[in-house]
């Protein structure tokens, strides 16, 4: 049984039919990426999994349990954390407070303190800035904070929405290095990216989303070599 199974979901924004039957699977320990153009429904897919949007049809099964009956904050308790698009850190709270919010659902203070050390080891810049207010961080640091904040929930599955958006190329590499590191330490990742080349390079498997439908599914390497993907998403002729 897969860790996460999304079965034929249809999600609407008002009358706009945004997802037209998306199905995907994420196995324990994988990095799975979701690529596609603007408005293809990548973010919508993640927001539906996290419970911010409700599918009108289809269901989402996480660890054998249908998520339909849970509210967004309960889905986090089930073990799904998200790094939202545009980072959405709490700009007026300090880095430490942001991380504490990430660990909001956890009661074991001892383990939280250990994970804080682990996160600081993973992203040492945050340790230097831990007393600073989130809004004063640079874009890359904010992305690191958003990632660290989600990790503080110790999720089974981490959803990442455009982690490289708006970052300088050096930082993009740093972020993808972090993604691989997090995954090696045992967190399953579902990644949504505009930067298809980077995403496919780190992913075990990938899905291509076009106007609300999954049009392709393969391993990361195979998708990278697929001529249609190369033409549409990797900018190669």
């Amino acid at each position: 049984m897969a860790l996460l199974e999304v079965n034929n979901i249809h999600t609407y924004y008002g009358n706009i039919h945004a997802l037209k039957g998306v199905s995907l699977k994420v196995e324990e320990g994988e990095i799975v990426c979701l690529i596609g153009g603007n408005g293809a429904g990548k973010t919508t897919t993640l927001r539906t999994i996290s419970g911010a949007l409700r599918p009108r049809e289809g269901n989402i099964v996480f660890m054998g349990e249908d998520l339909a009956k849970y509210k967004p904050h309960q889905i986090v308790q089930k073990g799904i954390a998200m790094v939202p698009e545009g980072r959405r850190i709490f700009a007026r709270m300090t880095v430490m407070e942001n991380l504490e919010m990430g660990a909001y659902i956890r009661k074991d203070k001892q383990k939280v303190a250990e994970d804080l050390e682990w996160v600081f080891e993973l992203l040492p810049r945050l340790k230097e800035r831990r007393r600073q207010v989130g809004g004063t961080l640079s874009g890359g640091e904010q992305q690191m904070l958003a990632t660290a904040r989600a990790l503080m929930a110790r999720p089974r599955l981490l959803l990442m929405d455009e982690p490289s958006m708006g970052l300088a190329p050096v930082l993009v590499e740093a972020i993808f290095d972090t993604i691989v590191k997090i995954n090696k330490e045992g967190t399953t990742i579902l990644l949504v990216e505009q930067n298809a080349l980077m995403a496919l390079s780190v992913a075990n498997r990938g899905y291509v989303l076009e106007t609300g439908n999954i049009v392709m599914e393969d391993t990361g390497e195979a998708l990278k070599k697929n001529p249609r993907v190369q033409k549409a998403y990797l900018g190669m002729e």
Partner: protein, 353 residues
């Protein structure tokens, strides 16, 4: 205001400055002539300042309800004056019962605490109930809609409590232990006012500590910044909103007890003026800002108590203290013209640009 300096100065700006300056001139002139006339001694000024701070303490506690709810929902809870009224209006019956049995004068501290606990509990329940019935079903409605239900809830509560307790005035018993004043040299300190100021400061500090340092307080701040991101942290947004209303309601109930220590008469309409003043304090200090609400309330309390005598007495205006509300609100209007975000509020216009 300073931006318009560099861009272009319109006729309205000039008019505003002229009116502002002439009010400032009247205030300065009035102050100088009052002080020159020597009609009031240093001791009576001291009395007025203490009175103003005691008044400010009450406004500060009520203002917390406005400012916390605004911070979370970006909405003015106009039913908050009735949240404030419900506590002391209910607790008066307990206070009288305690007084008749002689308990209140034998154990004044316990008695006041019991009254305060009841008042806070009632105000808190009313606040939570209002949120549940009048605001939560409209969470995603246009912003004007909950404003209308707020006013509706306000009237509903006024007349419900009138139905419960009647439209008459109920008097709180006097507490002998708080009668009179302490004499410190030439300065006189009324016991009630000292108790009110100290209690208000302690409670404001507790509220500040809850908001800044407790887990729930941090979650409140997270929800006030970004509800969807807060939900992604596993924070129960609706639960936090209920907690916010409960906290603001309890503060209003406590403020109600401090209010009746100074003005020991309650009736179903008693919430309106203190509620309006507390709302003013919250705006004056920068709405959504906890220390701002405290500062705004103290400034308003002082303006109200010291203002009339200081600014107007020297100009030969009879019974200047009757103009206290006029003074308080005129100065409010001008502070807001020159600093629309309040004393401690963020300069929204600048950060948005």
């Amino acid at each position: 205001m300073f931006r318009t300096w560099r861009q272009k100065i319109t006729l309205t700006d000039i008019l505003v400055w002229v009116i502002g300056l002439s009010i400032a001139a009247v205030v300065i002139w009035g102050t100088i002539s009052t002080l020159q006339s020597g009609k009031y001694s240093a001791e009576s000024w001291f009395d007025l300042v203490v009175k103003g701070l005691a008044l400010g303490g009450v406004y500060a506690l009520i203002a917390m309800g406005y400012t916390l709810v605004y911070g979370i929902l970006r909405m003015i809870n106009f039913a908050h004056s009735e949240v404030f009224m419900s506590g002391p209006f209910t607790a008066v019956f307990l206070a009288n019962a305690l007084n008749n049995s002689g308990f209140l004068n034998r154990y004044p501290l316990l008695g006041i605490l019991a009254v305060a606990v009841l008042s806070m509990a009632v105000s808190m329940s009313v606040a939570v109930l209002v949120e549940r019935v009048a605001y939560r079903p409209l969470r995603n409605a246009p912003r004007l809609v909950p404003l209308i239900t707020a006013i509706g809830a306000s009237f509903f509560l006024q007349y419900t409590f009138r139905g419960f307790y009647g439209s008459g005035f109920e008097a709180y018993p006097t507490i002998e232990a708080l009668n009179g004043a302490w004499q410190l040299g030439t300065v006189r300190l009324f016991k009630t006012q000292v108790v009110v100021i100290l209690a208000a400061i302690v409670m404001m500090f507790m509220l500040y500590a809850i908001v800044m340092w407790s887990k729930l307080g941090k979650a409140m701040r997270a929800v006030s910044e970004d509800k969807e991101a807060a939900a992604l942290m596993g924070i129960d947004v609706d639960g936090i909103i209920v907690f916010t209303f409960a906290l603001g309601g309890a503060a209003a109930g406590a403020g109600g007890v401090l209010y009746i220590l100074q003005f020991p008469v309650v009736h179903f309409y008693m919430g309106f003026i203190p509620g309006l003043k507390a709302f003013t304090s919250a705006v004056l200090g920068g709405i959504g800002n906890v220390p701002g609400a405290f500062l705004g309330a103290m400034v308003l309390g002082l303006l109200e108590s010291v203002g009339p005598n200081l600014f107007l007495d020297g100009l030969g205006i009879p019974v200047a203290s009757q103009l206290k509300d006029a003074i308080a609100f005129i100065i409010l209007v001008f502070i807001l013209i020159f600093r629309p975000s309040g004393i401690l509020g963020e300069r929204l216009t600048q950060t948005k640009v």
